[in-house]
């Protein structure tokens, strides 16, 4: 992640998802907009809500709760779409609230602790500490990468949710194949 200015500070945008604090580098944030109707895309990865029209541009929308395996969406008045850069493309991420913009010294960021090495730690750039708070710095390029778009982020309880749409898809295909067979047999 690039640092801002010669002072070796990090300039971050803070947001919350399911009560936890996350942050991304401010340079990768294009804009923050209010929730708006999202057009859903059939057979898209389960955490992709759909697409929106952002001044004539089609922007995909990712539900960060689902992506991080943090339960279902509860949209409130505080919910926001953050339009961010991921691998050179604009992607909107739904977060519970955007709380503040802050600068912290670069040395306040520690690499993800050895204790919490899970699949999720792959998506972290580090953890920033502030007044006893833990802020997770997300690696947008990885958390939103297309390659492992179907892989569940967190092992454990939410895996089921992650795989079920895929399973449903397979079932669907089988059913259609059955249809096809019938047609042929006829």
């Amino acid at each position: 992640m690039p640092t801002n200015g010669p002072t070796n500070e990090k300039h971050l945008v803070l947001f919350t998802i399911a009560g936890e604090k996350y942050a991304v580098d401010i340079n990768s944030v294009y804009e923050i907009i209010r929730m708006q109707p999202v057009t859903r895309i059939p057979k898209a990865p389960f955490f992709v809500e759909g697409i929106i029209n952002l001044r004539g541009k089609v922007v995909p929308i990712v539900d960060m709760r689902k992506r991080l395996g943090l339960g279902d969406i509860e949209q409130t008045k505080e919910s926001r779409i953050m339009v961010v850069d991921s691998n050179g493309e604009s992607v909107g991420i739904i977060v519970d609230a955007v709380t503040e913009v802050l600068r912290i010294p670069a040395d306040a960021v520690e690499p993800p602790s050895n204790i919490i090495i899970t699949t999720a730690s792959d998506y972290m750039l580090g953890i920033a500490k502030r007044d006893g708070d833990m802020i997770v710095l997300l690696d947008l390029n990885r958390v939103l990468s297309k390659e492992d778009a179907l892989a569940p982020v967190m092992a454990g309880k939410k895996t089921e949710q992650a795989t079920s749409p895929a399973a449903a898809k397979t079932k669907e295909e089988e059913k259609l194949k059955a249809t096809a067979t019938v047609i042929e047999a006829g």
Binding site: T39, L144, L176, T179, G186
Partner: protein, 692 residues
């Protein structure tokens, strides 16, 4: 690398661009030569092209290129004088030399030093010359001195001939800034500008002298042209660092009045018509412009809607009337802008076609066949997005026609055909489509061996093959493994990778058709949309989401009585115009919540076709037809099966654009992979499946 030391980037760019055009011209013309099109005009054009390359290469100090172009020029000169006739060997030599020139140019372009060797080409050219008489001394005919120029009888004759043909003859005298370090270049530019309007009868210094660095700070030239003095003045005065420019009509007083003859000599006429004005634009800028105009159109529509709302709210208000008027005006301008941008994006097919005569010629020679290659309608304009992808399929089809379509000469003679085969590539507009055909008068496709190949590969059963008509059998060449089979086993030797052609054309929303008759020939017809940027679509709603079905994929939109739906072993089908179609519910296909459809009453349905499949799509409601601009879903969502992209409508709503072919093939499965070739009937009977 061998360069003039003081060469600047801009001059190099001009040189490269000019050389590129000349090489292209030579490429086409040399092939024309071989096909009996030898006219004085053509020979002059070729000679001039080689001559110009030689000159400008010498000027930038590119020894090898200049030397090679000079050797070619010598051969062209003999052709021009009629002391040599054209044969295939000569053409080979010339084309080899031309390829070497191209390699030199590419080397220069990439600023590498590949060490392109010109010795082979040079020795071939020398051998040719030795065989057929000596080359005239280099540039002899251009050795003019100032006095000679004004009094020489040869000049006088030329001037009189030009005047007789109705041309104006001007004496141009130009003085170049003494401080210019580029005077040789300026002299050359003046010469070039003058020649762009007509033919330079003579000049002091000559082009050769300029190339040899003998140029002074002034130049005199005699020009025969159709242009007026003012135009000439304008052209030449565009050359930088010009101190003085004098243009006078006719330079000597004593010329006899000459009866103006009616004929115009070819080369002069040829030069005249070639002034075209154009600007080169970066393609990315054009795309961005197109995109922005698209947005403008969408916003215009939204503004128009708002203005209508205001009008109903504040009817009769003066400002509202004014707003409405200016909305109408804006609308017109935006529409015109959109049309113009679309036109800018259109390119003539010529861009793709130019390389083909050479390619066909080379292939034919390699295969030992005699072929006349005819191109028609190369001026037909197509959107850039299509041009880019049309070349490979056409190369494929032409290759096939040469390699497998046209028979060897002796075989042709044996069955009473002319020895020389004919391949025709033609293009034309038809309604909202472009039609491109590739036809040959060769041996045609053999339905029997295609059937055999298909059976051997297990694509159809022997019984099924026996039932196929010849037309149906021929269409099998588009099935992947059939063509591969033919390549490996050489059953008929026809149809190398034609499935690739089909896939490529279908990716452009086009179709490929083939017709063939034994010993008469084969014709491939490609049907392509005019542009990929805007498409007409039928809007439907499914699961609360707007979806657009490209009109090209729609057979019919209909209301179907629900009780007409039949269930056969758990699958829904419907009788539609004596055909049984499988019924697919769009919402269910998307994997969304099961829609609550009425058991009686009418269902909104769209009969769609994609690839060779047809089906009946049930939707929530039909919303009408609209022109839409297809937008990619972006890398992030690309590859979502069944969705081609999205589009933003005038009211800002998003609609998903469906990819019907993929949608249907996912649903029904890829029939070509199955043992039974079930879909074949559907192509001709217009049905997806026959039941019972």
């Amino acid at each position: 690398m061998d360069f003039a030391a003081n060469l600047v980037r801009e001059d190099l760019a001009i040189f490269l661009q000019e050389t590129e055009e000349l090489l292209q011209l030579l490429d086409e013309d040399i092939v024309k030569l071989e096909h009996g099109g030898i006219t004085p005009e053509l020979l002059n054009e070729i000679f001039r092209a080689a001559h110009t390359i030689k000159g400008s290469a010498a000027m930038i100090g590119h020894q090898r290129m200049s030397e090679l172009a000079h050797a070619m020029e010598a051969v062209f000169d003999e052709l021009r004088k009629g002391t040599r006739s054209v044969d295939a060997e000569l053409i080979d030599t010339l084309l080899t030399s031309l390829d070497t020139l191209k390699a030199l140019k590419e080397e220069l372009e990439s600023s590498r030093n590949d060490g392109v060797d010109i010795s082979l080409a040079i020795s071939m050219l020398r051998k040719t010359l030795e065989k057929g008489g000596a080359s005239p001394p280099y540039g002899q005919h251009l050795q003019w001195k100032a006095t000679k120029m004004l009094q020489g009888t040869e000049t006088k004759q030329k001037v009189q001939a030009a005047l007789a043909a109705g041309y104006n003859v001007f004496l141009v005298t130009a003085q170049i800034d003494k401080n210019s370090s580029w005077h040789a270049v300026r002299c050359f530019q003046i010469l070039a500008e003058a020649s762009s309007l007509g033919e330079v009868i003579c000049s002091v210094p000559t082009q050769k002298e300029i190339e040899e660095g003998k140029a002074d700070f002034s130049i005199k030239l005699l020009l025969a042209t159709r242009a007026e003095e003012t135009e000439l003045h304008k052209k030449i005065s565009a050359v930088p660092e010009l101190l003085e420019l004098r243009i006078t009509e006719r330079y000597w007083e004593d010329e006899e009045p000459i009866i103006p003859p009616t004929t115009v000599t070819g080369p002069l006429q040829k030069t005249m018509g070639k002034t075209r004005q154009s600007v080169r634009i970066d393609i990315e800028r054009l795309d961005s412009l197109m995109e922005q105009v698209g947005e403008l159109v969408v916003n215009r529509n939204r503004l128009a809607q708002l203005s209508k709302l205001l009008e109903t709210k504040y009817r009769g208000d003066e400002i509202i009337d004014e707003l409405e008027r200016s909305m109408i005006q804006t609308g017109k301008v935006v529409s015109m802008l959109q049309q113009d941008i679309m036109k800018i994006r259109m390119l003539p097919l010529e861009i793709v076609f130019t390389g083909f005569p050479r390619m066909v010629r080379d292939l034919a020679r390699k295969a030992g066949k005699k072929i006349d290659f005819i191109i028609e309608g190369q001026e037909t304009e197509v959107d850039r997005s299509i041009i880019e992808h049309i070349k490979d399929p056409l190369v494929h089809l032409l290759r096939n026609a040469v390699d497998h379509g046209i028979e060897p000469p002796e075989q042709r003679v044996a069955i009473g055909k002319p020895e020389t085969g004919k391949i025709t590539l033609s293009a034309y507009h038809e309604q909202n489509h472009i039609v491109i055909t590739v036809s040959d008068d060769g041996k045609g496709l053999d339905p029997a061996s295609i059937k055999q190949a298909a059976v051997e590969k297990g694509i159809i059963t022997a019984e099924k093959a026996a039932r196929l008509t010849d037309t149906e059998a021929i269409e099998l060449i588009f099935v992947p493994r059939v063509s591969t089979a033919q390549r490996t086993t050489e059953v008929s030797g026809r149809g190398v990778g034609l499935d690739v052609v089909k896939t490529n054309i279908e990716a452009l929303r086009g179709t490929v058709m083939v017709s063939s008759e034994k010993n008469k020939g084969t014709r491939f017809t490609l049907l392509l949309p005019l542009t990929l940027a805007v498409l007409s679509a039928l809007l439907v709603e499914a699961g609360g989401t707007l979806c657009a079905i490209p009109l090209a994929d729609v057979v019919e939109a209909a209301k179907l009585p629900a009780h007409n739906l039949k269930t056969i072993r758990g699958s829904k089908v419907i009788m539609w115009r004596d055909t049984v179609l499988s019924v697919l519910d769009l919402t269910t296909m998307f994997g969304w919540e099961k829609p609550d459809r009425a058991q009686d009453g009418d269902l909104d349905a769209v009969i769609v076709k994609g690839g060779d499949l047809k089906a009946c799509l049930i939707v929530d409601s039909l919303k009408g037809q609209q022109d839409i601009v297809l937008k990619s879903l972006g890398n992030y969502l690309q590859g979502t099966r069944g969705i081609a992209g999205a589009s933003i409508l005038g009211d800002g709503n998003i609609t998903l654009v469906l990819d019907i072919a993929t949608l249907l093939s996912t649903a029904v499965g890829d029939k070509y992979r199955r043992q039974e070739y079930a879909g074949l009937n559907s192509r001709h009977d217009d049905r997806l499946v026959k039941i019972g």
